[in-house]
Subunit: 193 residues, 2 copies
Amino acid sequence: MNTAFTIWCTGLPSSGKSGLADALGPAISSRGFQVEVINSGRMRRTPLGASLGFSKNDRDTNLRRHAFASNLLVKNGVVAIVSAVSPYAATRAAIRNELDRFLEVFVSTPKAACIERDVDGAWAKALNGEIRDFTGVDAPYEAPVDADVEVDLSQLSVEAAVQRVILKLEDLKWVAPLQNRGTEDDRLLDPGL
Amino acid sequence: MNTAFTIWCTGLPSSGKSGLADALGPAISSRGFQVEVINSGRMRRTPLGASLGFSKNDRDTNLRRHAFASNLLVKNGVVAIVSAVSPYAATRAAIRNELDRFLEVFVSTPKAACIERDVDGAWAKALNGEIRDFTGVDAPYEAPVDADVEVDLSQLSVEAAVQRVILKLEDLKWVAPLQNRGTEDDRLLDPGL
């Protein structure tokens, strides 16, 4: 069994975390891993997340549950990819401490670009005061200063960001490099390749 | 990948559920499965269970979380073995409905035998009125009437109970029978067997 690991994508709302997490899924399963993507927004609509609000305490509980689920998966050989705002540095540090192989990916798309993306309209509502405790408006985001990988999705395509994460995983030897599949000429000579 | 499943052990406190679940772990992993045992008592000391009490509502939330964790594991090919009092028939039915391959094991050790076992002293405290909402004392236990397997651990050894569960899993073709390893004579003739 391959040794599994956790990839934790942190960043502002609408920074592109969940799109990155979804794209990382197939990229990592193609390296021979079973992979589960845990999306914080979706998790809040399950029995694990229901009843939790957005106070610091509830946010922390929410993230500890993500960490618990990741740990359950990872110890059984399944790679866990979490996308969650995870705004507090101390909470992220505690979770890193709890989990064995933990890769922190900072999705550093700037606030202005996140507001422009606003995939679910939540930034607009928060800026209008319709919703409260919104990270980046009236709740803090403590940006990582030592993330393992940083990707700004206003500058990089999702594919390029996936590539950066994969290269980091290869550097760490958590995933093996793809085998050389031969040159284009080899493939022309042997259609089986 | 083998198709995984959930084994859900329900029964009174101190009926022997968690001992059975722990013994089922290696029996099933020897059939080529990755296995995770989820013990309800231990789960209550994690971020998934902390803050939950023993009201009907909190018990239900607790079990829905066990089901969520099982589902996460099973869809990634890991067998989930849950031991939890799970006293309400409707909750058990809802969980069975939610999960694909679900084997309900009723640990039917009678109340008198559970009180005698009283592995953690909780029966004594409940009977003294020191703790409330205790299943079998002042909270109901709705015994299953159609469990897939029933084992009374005041009559059966844990090993015999494991064997019953395994036979049921073989009947369902969820696990393959162990290969014939030859007779004792074969083994004497060929030390490699």
